[in-house]
């Protein structure tokens, strides 16, 4: 079931109404049933995988708590990690590595005996696996006790608003919420509904509209020559993926908030970042903090020498790239961001000297503008790999951009193009007004007339400019 479907617009209020109609002690049952139903609308059989992950981690955490020795605790942690990552690897990467090995063997004229096989990727597996793993690691580290209520733990793993594309929650902050008694609060309901409406606007009016143009360019990369075409498509993809993913997060956070749950903020105006490091503190925050806490810090974090630290950062981004998908384009994308981060650290002092020499250090607004522009373009370079169908296409696109072919760009259907750009302008206007506040805070602080104008604009923007058959969210494929 997609968030941008009428089924969900019927499902959500029904679930919310039933949630508050039920006594607290039965609410976990409702959430468990509806969450599994939500997931099984996609493919029923794969709900077994969530249940297996849930059982493994529930048992592992209890085992850790009861283990009398550190070795025992480690054994349970190892069991959880190996099982969950093994399942993730099999379903997500087995085909990729198999085909990569086949290509490598064939390149050297060696025979490769493993036949071709295909495995359907369970939607959301990367997200719920990480969320469940963070629980067992936190229990191992002593950050929280094991959850004894199996039903509550199962809901924590499969909670439908954030099951398939995050935010990736932490047990420390999220699990206790299932034990809290939630009541209907007008402010929460209104906040939640506003976020859902805004998320639907971003998805249907901006992301899906812009994708029509982006797909026509990126899926036919060798039929276009103008540098401007590829630059336009890349800039628009930057907004497509931002709106697509942040829309999902907004709808997830809004849906959860209506029931009294607080999910973590996942995006914070990422294209206003002045450095790649800042970008990753504003983009997919739940994932970047997950990698920080469960990969970077165990590797030594910032407590090791600079060389080791930079190596660790590069490894984290490489893994992050691979997490995003089983394709070399994602690996290159991750590596590129790793290079950005490492280079940023190495050149920090040099950059400060450069700003001083250029007289920009004393002009903070100009400096901020340049830094934001440079960061945005570095991110866009990465998006080329993220979106391209393969690495060859990505290099072809980059080559075309660098050829500075200024022939007239391909616009496609002018009206479609303009609708997409209009949506982006609306988004940027709202984010400018937002400033440092969250979207919820900004909307809450608007006068009533402003809020109603916002609702009307979103609803009728969706009806007039929305693409209704744009399909699933980009991050569902991860």
């Amino acid at each position: 079931m997609l968030f941008n479907s009428i089924e969900y617009l019927i499902f959500l209020p029904l679930v919310v109404a039933c949630y508050f109609a039920l006594p607290h002690r039965f609410r976990w049952v409702l959430l468990l049933v509806t969450s599994y139903y939500f997931y099984m609308c996609w493919k029923a059989e794969y709900a077994v995988l969530i249940m297996v992950s849930t059982l493994i981690d529930y048992v592992s955490a209890l085992g850790m708590e009861r283990a009398k020795t550190q070795v025992g605790r480690r054994w349970y942690l190892g069991f959880s990690l190996a099982s969950n990552l093994g399942i993730l690897f099999f379903f997500k990467y087995a085909v990729f590595f198999n085909e990569s090995f086949r290509t490598a063997f064939e390149r050297f004229d060696l025979s490769y005996g493993v036949p071709y096989f295909d495995i359907l990727l369970p939607v959301g597996i990367s997200f719920y696996t990480f969320q469940s793993l963070s629980y067992t690691v936190d229990v191992y580290r002593g950050h929280r006790k094991a959850e004894h209520h199996f039903g509550v733990f199962a809901v924590y793993v499969c909670f439908f608003p954030q099951l398939v594309a995050g935010p990736i929650e932490r047990a420390v902050s999220f699990l206790p919420q299932f034990h809290e008694v939630h009541r209907i609060e007008y402010r929460r309901m209104a906040d939640g509904l506003r976020l859902v409406i805004w998320g639907l606007f971003k998805k249907l009016v901006v992301a899906d509209r812009v994708s029509l143009y982006v797909d026509s360019v990126y899926n036919n990369a060798y039929q276009h020559e103008s540098s401007l075409t590829f630059m336009l498509a890349t800039y628009l993809f930057a907004f497509q993926i931002y709106c697509d993913f942040s829309a999902y997060s907004d709808i997830a956070i809004g849906s959860a908030r209506m029931m009294g749950f607080d999910l973590m903020e996942n995006f914070r105006r990422p294209y206003a970042s002045k450095s790649i490091g800042e970008f990753w503190r504003r983009w997919h925050i739940s994932l970047s903090t997950w990698f920080r806490d469960y990969v970077f810090i165990p590797l030594g974090g910032s407590q090791v020498g600079q060389k080791r630290r930079m190596m660790n950062l590069f490894i984290v981004f490489l893994i992050s790239g691979l997490w995003h998908g089983a394709n070399w384009t994602f690996v290159v994308w991750g590596a590129l961001h790793g290079i950005y981060i490492v280079t940023g650290i190495l050149l920090l002092a040099w950059r400060e000297r450069l700003w001083s020499r250029l007289g920009i250090a004393s002009r903070p607004r100009l400096r901020a503008f340049i830094e934001v522009a440079v960061t945005f373009h570095l991110v866009c370079l990465g998006w080329i790999f993220f979106r391209a169908n393969n690495v060859s296409d990505a290099f072809h696109i980059i080559g075309s951009i660098l050829s500075v072919n200024l022939s007239a760009p391909y616009i496609g259907e002018a009206a479609q193009f303009l609708y997409g750009v209009t949506g982006i302008v609306a988004l940027l206007a709202l984010e400018y007004l937002q400033g440092q506040r969250t979207t919820s805070e900004m909307l809450h602080e608007l006068p009533a007339a402003g809020r109603w104008a916002f609702y009307t604009a979103c609803v009728f923007g969706i009806l007039l400019l929305g693409v209704f058959d744009g399909g699933q969210f980009i991050y569902f494929q991860f």
């Binding site: 009428i6 006594p23 607290h24 008694v181 009541r183 209907i184 609060e185 007008y186 309901m189 209104a190 036919n220 060798y222 039929q223 002018a414 009206a415 479609q416 303009l418 609708y419 109603w452 609702y455 009307t456 609803v459 009728f460 009806l463 007039l464 400019l465 929305g466 209704f468 058959d469």
Partner: protein, 329 residues
């Protein structure tokens, strides 16, 4: 902590009141905005221009050419009229397929009956694509005409389409710019003399590129490599029968292509063989004016791209077609 189980708490009442207010405001805006958009749409309809559907439903010509961008750009109405003595117009709409042609035909036949309908054949008409029903959004404004045949097709866009169409604004999805432009044209007194004919200018392909010869496949292999969408032959049949039931003569035309090696484009000509089989069962005569029957279409200067003639090519094609058509009338 005790649960709040009363449905009459102030928070509940406040929430329900706001939801009701929200619904009332949205319904009111939908009504008013929908009425304004409908008025803007009606202003364009009937003027004879306005692109696509609006132009087509204003038609009263005796000869209409249906199809996609090829119908729109290949058939010069002036040449067709000159040779046949019939008032002619193209009602081709770019990027459409047989589902759209059928919907358009239903709208037109509800208004009048031309003497002759020509269906320009293009392979992609029968190909199954994920956006087959999406492209029918251009007919949504006509949902309230009460045309059952049209609405039956529109409802296949999605199972929620009947619900969505309760909104008076939704039918105008993705039409704002077009409505604005054409309303502006109408208000400024502009007229459209094109009769639906919009030829393409210039050449966008390498004239020295090597031609890809048309391949013939055994039926089973053709079906495997070029599968026809299961529901589309039914629409071809409905298209033909609807016209014949109103006394309209139906003909088809197979025009020229210029697929070349290395273009990366898929040669969809094998679909035309499947099309010919479907039309053969319906006894629809097919006029062939293409590169196999007329060697003049081996001249690359007549083509804009692999699928479309340019203006010069369109005039050559129209002359040949009109002569052939006249013999069928």
């Amino acid at each position: 902590m005790a649960d709040s189980s009363s449905i009459f708490s102030s928070e509940h009442k406040r929430l329900l009141a706001k939801v009701a207010l929200f619904a009332a405001v949205m319904l009111s805006v939908d009504f008013v905005l929908g009425a304004a958009l409908a008025k803007a749409h009606r202003r364009v309809e009937g003027t004879g221009f306005g692109g696509g559907v609006s132009h087509a439903v204003a038609q009263r010509n005796d000869l209409l050419v249906f199809g996609s961008s090829r119908a729109m750009s290949h058939y010069n109405p002036k040449i067709l009229s000159g040779k046949t003595g019939l008032g002619a117009a193209s009602v081709g709409i770019e990027g459409t397929n047989i589902l759209s042609h059928y919907c358009l035909e239903q709208l037109i036949l509800a208004r009048y009956s031309p003497r002759v309908i020509v269906l320009d054949l293009i392979g992609t008409d029968l190909e199954e694509t994920s956006r087959d029903f999406d492209s029918l959004s251009i007919y949504l404004p006509y949902y309230r005409d009460g045309n059952e045949a049209l609405n039956e097709v529109l409802f296949q866009r999605s199972k929620w389409e009947p619900l969505k169409l309760q909104s008076k604004v939704y039918p105008y999805n993705s039409t704002l710019l077009g409505l604005a432009k054409y309303n502006s044209d109408v208000l400024r007194g502009k007229t459209d003399e094109s009769n639906g004919f919009h030829p393409y200018a210039g050449i966008e392909m390498d004239p020295a590129a090597v031609l890809l010869p048309a391949r013939t496949y055994a039926p089973a292999e053709r079906e495997r490599l070029f599968p026809v969408a299961s529901y589309k032959p039914g629409y071809v049949k409905s298209f033909v029968e609807s016209a014949r039931n109103k006394g309209v003569t139906v003909l088809a035309c197979k025009g020229p292509y210029r697929f070349v090696e290395g273009s990366g484009k898929v040669d969809t000509r094998p679909y035309l063989d499947a099309y010919a089989e479907v039309l053969g069962e319906l006894n629809v005569p097919i006029i062939t004016i293409d590169e196999t029957s007329h060697p003049e279409f081996n001249d690359s200067s007549l083509f804009r791209d692999d699928l479309h003639l340019n203006a010069k090519g369109a005039d050559v094609f129209s002359t040949l077609f009109a002569e052939a058509l006249a013999q069928h009338l």
